[in-house]
């Protein structure tokens, strides 16, 4: 961290931020208030995380920080020191693997143009990690920060319910 005796603003020089990104330790020298969305999309070319409003209102840039969904457009890099960041690219844990939520979105048609889809899936995955068998109310609340303009949400709701069922089957309880 930058230590200053005289706290008057100078140019915001880079600070080294250490965090985990999709399971890999990362050290980045960036201005500490730089937005995570810019680091992901511009600096690291991880463009699976989308950008749609820059004020946290559309959810296209949803990522997980320590397993909880946050908007990458609102998150500043210094807030990530020591944290664990997961983007859509790291959700399934392998290049070819599909998360149950991803599979369910494919099968139910929980997407059309696909631009909201990574953020939507990240939010849904976070919900199921915390509550494997959510009620519809809980699904709706968990996805209330992700806007979709194509589907009318019907396919999305069906997809999340389907992911719950896939999870149950995997558990052998279904």
């Amino acid at each position: 961290m930058i230590e200053r005796t005289n706290p008057l603003p100078a140019a915001a020089d880079a600070a080294v931020i250490s965090f985990t990104l999709n399971g890999e330790p990362v050290r980045l020298a960036v201005p500490p208030a730089r937005r995570l969305i810019d680091v992901l999309r511009h600096d690291l070319l991880l463009t699976g995380t989308k950008i749609g409003c820059e004020i946290g209102r559309c959810g296209a840039c949803m990522v997980l920080v320590d397993g909880r969904p946050v908007n990458a457009c609102l998150t500043m890099m210094y807030q990530l020191e020591g944290r664990r960041v997961t983007t859509i690219e790291g959700l399934a844990g392998g290049a070819e693997a599909l998360h149950a939520v991803q599979r369910a979105f494919l099968e139910e048609g929980g997407f059309q143009c696909g631009y909201c889809t990574p953020g939507m899936i990240v939010s849904a995955a976070a919900l199921l990690a915390e509550r494997p068998d959510p009620t519809d109310d809980e699904i709706v609340e968990a996805l209330s920060g992700n806007l979709c303009r194509c589907t009318g949400y019907g396919g999305i709701l069906r997809a999340v319910r389907r992911a719950v069922a896939i999870g149950r089957e995997a558990d052998g309880t279904g």
Binding site: A14, P32, M76, Q79
Partner: protein, 308 residues
């Protein structure tokens, strides 16, 4: 390997105070060029819209762990301003003792916003939805200045934030146990919080109302507290509405009086999306509905234990 990115000079620098006093000193030294930040969600929105200029420095309050966490005190709960909204919603002591606050916070923003935003930010904005609920619990704010700690009733601060000397930092929100506040143990404390927005979720409030009181034997409310806010209005207690409800039954004439009382004292902000008249009427209706629901014989929701 360290990779370097970004354009120096575009983003504010980030200062990490070691204690609240230093945070106040930083703010005093920087003036408008230094801004306290915790979650930063509201600031981002203001920078994007141009409502506020991006400052030269952010004073990162999350460097002050003493301001985080929820603590039990004698007869009270003290909520640190750095508590994330999502953690507040999950807090058992809050849900058990102050369910209107939990409900108000649960309906702020969306889960991802609540994972970043803090209760301190919501309070400091002076228009946050949590304030309406905090008002009926007669919450107190604990402030730190460079030299000392002072406590102020939330209602007084909302009425007049005061200039004070130097800079102060919100250090805690104290909620007295309802049993002590209501001064009795005759009936159960019951209340409700309602929010009206332009859509079903993820929406700033047009109107928020909170109603709290003690259920009496004859099915009325005693020790009634009512508060309302919403939009850019600073939430406030509605004392005339409280007087109408106190010990009274829902009837056509008490409802007329309630409507008049709310119209007389609720000062909603009007904007291009909803007029003041609509907001006044909605506030009166939501208060009436809460009153009706609380006093209905088959009432189930809204009840809570005064002293869990």
């Amino acid at each position: 390997m360290v990779m370097a990115f970004g354009t120096p000079g575009r983003d504010p620098e980030v200062l990490r105070p070691r204690d609240p006093a230093e945070a106040c000193r930083m703010k005093a030294a920087l003036g408008a060029e230094g801004v306290f930040v915790a979650g930063g969600t509201l600031l981002r929105t203001q920078w994007e819209s141009g409502a506020a200029k991006m400052p030269g420095a952010l004073i990162d309050l999350t460097a002050l762990p003493a301001l985080d966490g929820i603590a039990e005190e004698a007869g009270a709960l003290v909520i640190g301003p750095l508590v994330r909204l999502s953690d507040l919603v999950r807090s058992e002591p809050v849900a058990a003792g102050f369910p209107l606050l939990a409900e108000a916070v649960r309906r702020i923003g969306a889960p991802s916003i609540r994972n970043l935003a803090t209760i301190g930010g919501n309070v400091a904005s002076r228009t946050g939805d949590a304030l309406t609920a905090l008002l009926v619990y007669d919450a107190e704010l604990i402030w730190r200045t460079e030299r000392r700690t002072e406590t102020m009733r939330l209602e007084d601060w909302l009425a007049d934030p005061g200039a004070g000397e130097g800079f102060r930092l919100l250090a805690g929100i104290r909620l007295k146990r309802a049993g002590a506040a209501a001064g009795g143990r005759a009936g159960r404390i019951a209340g409700g919080f309602r929010k009206l927005g332009r859509r079903e979720a993820f929406i700033p409030a047009l109107v928020t109302v909170a109603v709290l009181g003690r259920l009496t034997e004859d099915g009325t409310l005693a020790g009634v507290r009512v508060a309302a806010g919403g939009g850019s209005a600073v939430p406030s207690r509605l004392r005339a509405a409280e007087a109408v409800i106190e010990g009274a039954r829902v009837s056509p004439e008490t409802l007329v009086r309630l409507g008049e009382a709310v119209a007389g004292e609720y000062r909603p902000a009007s904007d291009a999306f909803a007029g003041a008249e609509y907001r006044r009427r909605a506030a009166a209706n939501l208060i009436a509905a809460e009153w009706f629901t609380l006093c209905a014989p088959d009432r189930k929701e809204g009840e809570h234990d005064p002293d869990p």
